[in-house]
Subunit: 198 residues, 2 copies
Amino acid sequence: MNQSNKIGIKKAALRLFSEKGYEDTSLHEIALAVGIKKPSIYNHFDHKEDIFCAVLDDLLLSETTEYQHLRKQMKIDEPKTNLRMLFDLYCKRLMTTEEALLWKRVTFFPPQQFKEMIEEKFFEFENVVTEILSGIYNDARAADILRDVDGDEFTASFFCLVDGIFLEHHYYNEQVFRQRMDAVWKVYNLGIFKGEGE
Amino acid sequence: MNQSNKIGIKKAALRLFSEKGYEDTSLHEIALAVGIKKPSIYNHFDHKEDIFCAVLDDLLLSETTEYQHLRKQMKIDEPKTNLRMLFDLYCKRLMTTEEALLWKRVTFFPPQQFKEMIEEKFFEFENVVTEILSGIYNDARAADILRDVDGDEFTASFFCLVDGIFLEHHYYNEQVFRQRMDAVWKVYNLGIFKGEGE
DNA sequence: CCTACCGATCGGTAGG
DNA sequence: CCTACCGATCGGTAGG
């Protein structure tokens, strides 16, 4: 019973689940990636489903930790900068981590047996980001730099922005994607914040 | 060789592929839904893959037809109304058609063997909508109702808007979704169009 | 940790 | 359009 193999199984499963989905990933493939035989997986997990749950638990912990860490770096008198930092962190993780890919896959098209569990985790994670956004909104409101937009509209439009960005990241090469990111961020800013002379 | 069964197979496949995905739908299930036995499917299609291609061809044809039809209803002197009509058509189809659900699924997580084909269709469909958007942009520019936003930024931000909406339609119930839709549309409008006094 | 194996299900075929 | 069947692969088990 080698604990490093247990970690290896989770690591391989994270990659394969994110690339191909849960149903389309076989235990044989996972075992192959780890360098063991399929039945040896059962030394560490009782069912394929248990691997999925373990991977998702790890994922949610690392994501929330990351965003909580960002929160501590924020300065109360710079809401515009804070919002951009949140946007950048989201985009960066989107483009570089397997975790973000798996997260979007399973929140979007959950394997049937995990639907409820995933939904719970989704709202848990959304609450973490929503709280950060609320803080930024209050700071921006106090500084009187916002247009006529309430807190819910502020939050909803941010989520829609990053959700749209996420989807588009699948389709365009990095150059086109960055152009899109800049264009979209510009319009979002024009919509949220007052202009110079206003 | 009953042609109505061929249509029935495509109809059942559209529903099942959209609900469960391509890999997770068996030919047995499709046959069951049509009321025939699995091998009889092979009277109409040589492979499971051919059913998928036929369903996707039908889908793209009906989508582009729908948007071309909208285009003809637009009035050159009402760019704001036209943009809203485009947004509404998009949202309506998203919430009511199996086609939109399947489209969402396969553009987001294409079955590996169809990846290229789906990408081609994605850009084909995007071009149809981009042309409509360009027309609206030119009309709005001529009417001098736009902020400092160029054609590419106008197009990119609209796509990001509907892509975000597209994704969020999955997470929320209809009531929350409609609230989000309104909030997001409001911020987008504030970003794109000049305010009253400007 | 392995080899050898299980029943169930998959896409697809033979033959009528 | 059907019944009967194919080899391959799935998640999982027995036994060492």
